[in-house]
């Protein structure tokens, strides 16, 4: 089992302008591959310079990426994928929120942009692989099949946001950062050593197309102004008002602004979002306990498992692992938790692992609380 192929490949390195993708491109070049850098222009109107939170669509990011490519000594281009990004990621993001779900746009971007639109064009132009700065490990088996595993450093593992890749996409993916136990400080030190000016650049955290970090404001702009609605308790009694159901996430506690305390005096959490009625249901933390879920659009990294199986599951980026049994029935993934879990949000992905190996992923559609069957759940 080896991570990197011995044969030099023609590699297209996606360079966001951040430190990870710059070091990844540098490592790929150093490994002897013929590397070309490309920055994806994903915003139709790139801001001149970044404002507020870190994005990845600014002219400054593009310049940082170009500067890094110059230092590494590789050709560099900017490709305009703004239209594809808007259709496949931004519009999908808005539609998901509108439907009361909580999407993860990074997964969608990896599935539809980096390892689809970008990869397709790269392959057509004669490249063998797309390289990114993600922290995940690709293992090539003796028979040539590939597996994706969690990064060596679990704290930085990003296999969750890559869980949507199928084996075909994985066959052309290269993650030079994933198989080394390096802390972020060490990556920065490596960037410094390589003369990359992005060594000290802050990490990006937020959704790249919402530069100021104001997701609520962004959604309000897309879905019309805030529409006031009711906040209900589990019995259906009105306990407060909100300014638009689409901004809430299951398990959210802050920002509810419920005037009077609950009968038991304990904090309340978002249990359910109903965009159709524009209502948000809240309740005690115990009511967040989920025992099972169903998920749609399964994607398998390899062959789909036949019959029920035992896995560990991850339910959100940076989330922990939990023991599950899962079975695919008529295209819907049914997942049952060994122990109840809290704060499972429809729209997020459930990624299944066998040890460190990514088995597949699906988009959470419904969840079942104690005593409910998942399919009939919320």
């Amino acid at each position: 089992m080896t991570q990197t192929s011995q044969r030099p490949l023609r590699v297209l390195a996606a360079m966001s302008g951040g430190v990870d993708s710059a070091v990844a491109a540098a490592r790929a070049a150093e490994a002897g591959h013929d590397v070309t850098g490309v920055h994806l222009a994903l915003s139709a109107n790139p801001q001149s310079f970044r404002t507020g939170a870190r994005g990845c669509c600014t002219i400054e990011d593009s310049r940082d990426a170009r500067r890094a490519a110059d230092v590494i000594g590789i050709p560099f281009y900017v490709w305009d994928l703004a239209e594809r990004f808007r259709e496949d990621v931004v519009d999908d993001f808005v539609a998901e929120y509108e439907a009361g779900r909580t999407p993860n746009p990074c997964l969608r971007c990896n599935e539809k942009i980096k390892f689809a639109a970008l990869l397709d064009k790269a392959l057509a132009l004669g490249f063998d692989a797309v390289c990114t700065g993600h922290y995940a490990t690709v293992v090539v088996n003796e028979d040539g099949t590939r597996e994706m595993h969690r990064a060596s450093d679990m704290a930085k593992d990003q296999s969750y946001v890559l869980g949507v890749l199928d084996e075909k996409q994985l066959a052309h993916a290269m993650f030079p950062l994933g198989d080394t136990l390096t802390t972020k400080d060490e990556i920065r030190a490596e960037a410094e050593r390589r003369g990359l000016a992005v060594a000290k650049k802050p990490d990006s955290h937020d959704i790249c197309f919402i530069a100021d970090g104001d997701t609520q404001g962004f959604l309000a702009g897309r879905l019309g102004g805030p529409a006031e609605g009711d906040i209900l308790d589990e019995s259906g009694t009105k306990v407060g008002t909100h300014e638009g159901a689409f901004g809430f996430t299951i398990g959210q506690r802050k920002g509810l602004r419920i005037g009077h305390p609950a009968p038991d005096g304990k904090p309340r959490y978002v249990l359910d979002i109903s965009p159709v009625n524009n209502t948000v249901t809240v309740g005690p933390v115990e009511a967040l306990d989920v025992t099972a879920l169903t998920a749609l659009r399964p994607r398998w990294c390899g062959t789909a498992p036949a019959g029920p199986g035992t896995y560990t599951a991850q339910l959100r980026a940076h989330g922990g692992e939990t023991e599950v049994t899962a079975e695919l029935v008529d295209g819907t993934l049914h997942v049952t938790f060994a122990e109840p879990v809290r704060g499972v949000a429809p729209g997020q992905a459930v990624v299944l692992y066998d040890g460190t190996r990514v088995v597949g992923s699906a988009t959470i559609a419904t969840t079942a609380r104690r005593g409910e069957p998942a399919a009939a759940g919320r």
């Binding site: 170009r66 900017v78 305009d80 057509a124």
Partner: protein
């Protein structure tokens, strides 16, 4: 390696490098009164005379600038302000839609900030402004025209404008006309006095001189409002300490460009024809841009549209084989935009994305053409597979 992007910049001539490096070791501000200043001033003024001679102008008509962009800005903004100050009715600017961005964006800025009304003159499918179209536009109201600006030859598709006839129309109505001659100088006969222009832009680094120096040829009757205010150098039109080494080097390159022009046009024009034939043989459905008539285009320019290709993809594929060229169009944040020149000529926007400009220069060889001839066919086939994303 085949460098086919001389219209972007061309290698410095050895003589120009020698002139520049010799001056770099000499102290003296050309505005100073002492001996060192006098020595610098003498170098500048001799250089100015050389440039004037090369361009058919009087020495006092050579206003040195930091390059083509500054000269264009000075001509367009400065003449607009001066003309409007003299008569507030003069707010109409007549411009070709195929200008370089240094003119186009300056003109648009006047419209956005200085109350100008910009009228883009119609062009034919080769991007050429016809004298009758200019006459019609001016004659509609000769009193409100501030200036006319039409480039001598187009930097993307190479089409040559009928500058003399256009300037004649301008003179008939007593309206100043400016021409950006950055690409024309060294390739075409550029005689300022004979042209009838009020102002004309040239740049050093396109003719084998250094970066960062150019000139606005400016008729003595014209006093544009300065863009740069300061010490009053260059007829009080363009302040700033002169870059003596660059001026000296520019003069040498200018003299050689004028002296060698006919031979350059003949030899490089021949090589360009070979290049165009080779590309069309390898890619029969490629479309030659600009005026196909030999006298209608710059001798060093070959511009093609490759249907079904993205220019960017071709650039990447050729670059990977050491062939350096340009898509010809400007970028916004590194993203290729469909060329405004092609769109102005009525080219379909999808077609306009698949362009490449090959431009030859004094170091070009037959080997460059052969390298391109070998690479272009497979590159186009591959780029078509990638398609238009």
């Amino acid at each position: 390696m085949a460098y086919l992007d001389h219209a972007a910049t061309t290698p410095m001539l050895p003589e120009a490098i020698a002139a520049m490096t010799a001056q770099l070791a000499v102290t003296g501000n050309a505005s100073s009164l002492h001996a060192a200043g006098r020595r610098a001033r003498r170098t500048v003024e001799e250089s100015r005379e050389t440039l004037a001679d090369a361009l058919g102008a009087r020495p006092s008509e050579v206003v040195l600038t930091s390059g083509g962009t500054e000269a264009d800005n000075l001509a367009v903004k400065g003449l607009y302000w001066a003309r409007r100050d003299a008569d507030p009715r003069r707010t109409r600017v007549l411009a070709s839609p195929v200008e370089h961005h240094a003119v186009l964006d300056a003109v648009d800025w006047l419209a956005e900030h200085e109350g100008a009304t910009v009228e883009y003159l119609p062009v034919d499918r080769y991007g050429r402004v016809h004298p009758d179209a200019l006459r019609e536009a001016v004659a509609r109201d000769p009193d409100d025209v501030a200036l006319i600006t039409v480039m001598w030859a187009n930097n993307e598709i190479g089409t040559i404008m009928p500058v003399h006839e256009l300037a004649e129309v301008a003179r008939e109505f007593d309206v100043p006309m400016h021409a950006d001659a950055v690409q024309a100088f060294g390739q075409l006969e550029v005689d300022f006095a004979h042209s009838g222009l009020a102002a004309m832009t040239v740049s050093a680094h396109k003719i084998g001189g250094p970066f960062g120096i150019g000139a606005l040829l400016l008729g003595r009757d014209y006093a544009p409002v300065p863009v740069l205010h300061g010490g009053g150098q260059e007829r009080h039109v363009r302040s700033g300490t002169l870059d003596v080494p660059a001026v000296a080097s520019f003069a040498v390159a200018g003299r050689l460009a004028a002296e060698g022009r006919e031979e350059f046009a003949r030899e490089i024009g021949g090589l360009r024809d070979e290049l165009a034939d080779a590309v069309l043989r390898a890619v029969p459905d490629a479309l030659l841009g600009g005026d196909p008539a030999p006298g209608g285009r710059l001798p060093a320019n070959a511009h093609f549209t490759f249907p079904g290709c993205e220019g960017d993809s071709l650039l990447l594929l050729l670059d990977a084989q050491g062939i350096e060229c340009s898509t010809g169009s400007a970028c916004t944040a590194g993203i290729a935009q469909p060329s405004h020149v092609l769109l102005a000529t009525g080219t379909d926007p999808d077609l306009a994305r698949g362009t490449l400009r090959f431009s030859l220069g004094h170091t070009s060889t037959r080997q460059d053409v052969e390298d391109l001839a070998r690479a272009i066919g497979p590159a186009v086939t591959r780029a078509r597979t990638a398609g238009l994303t």
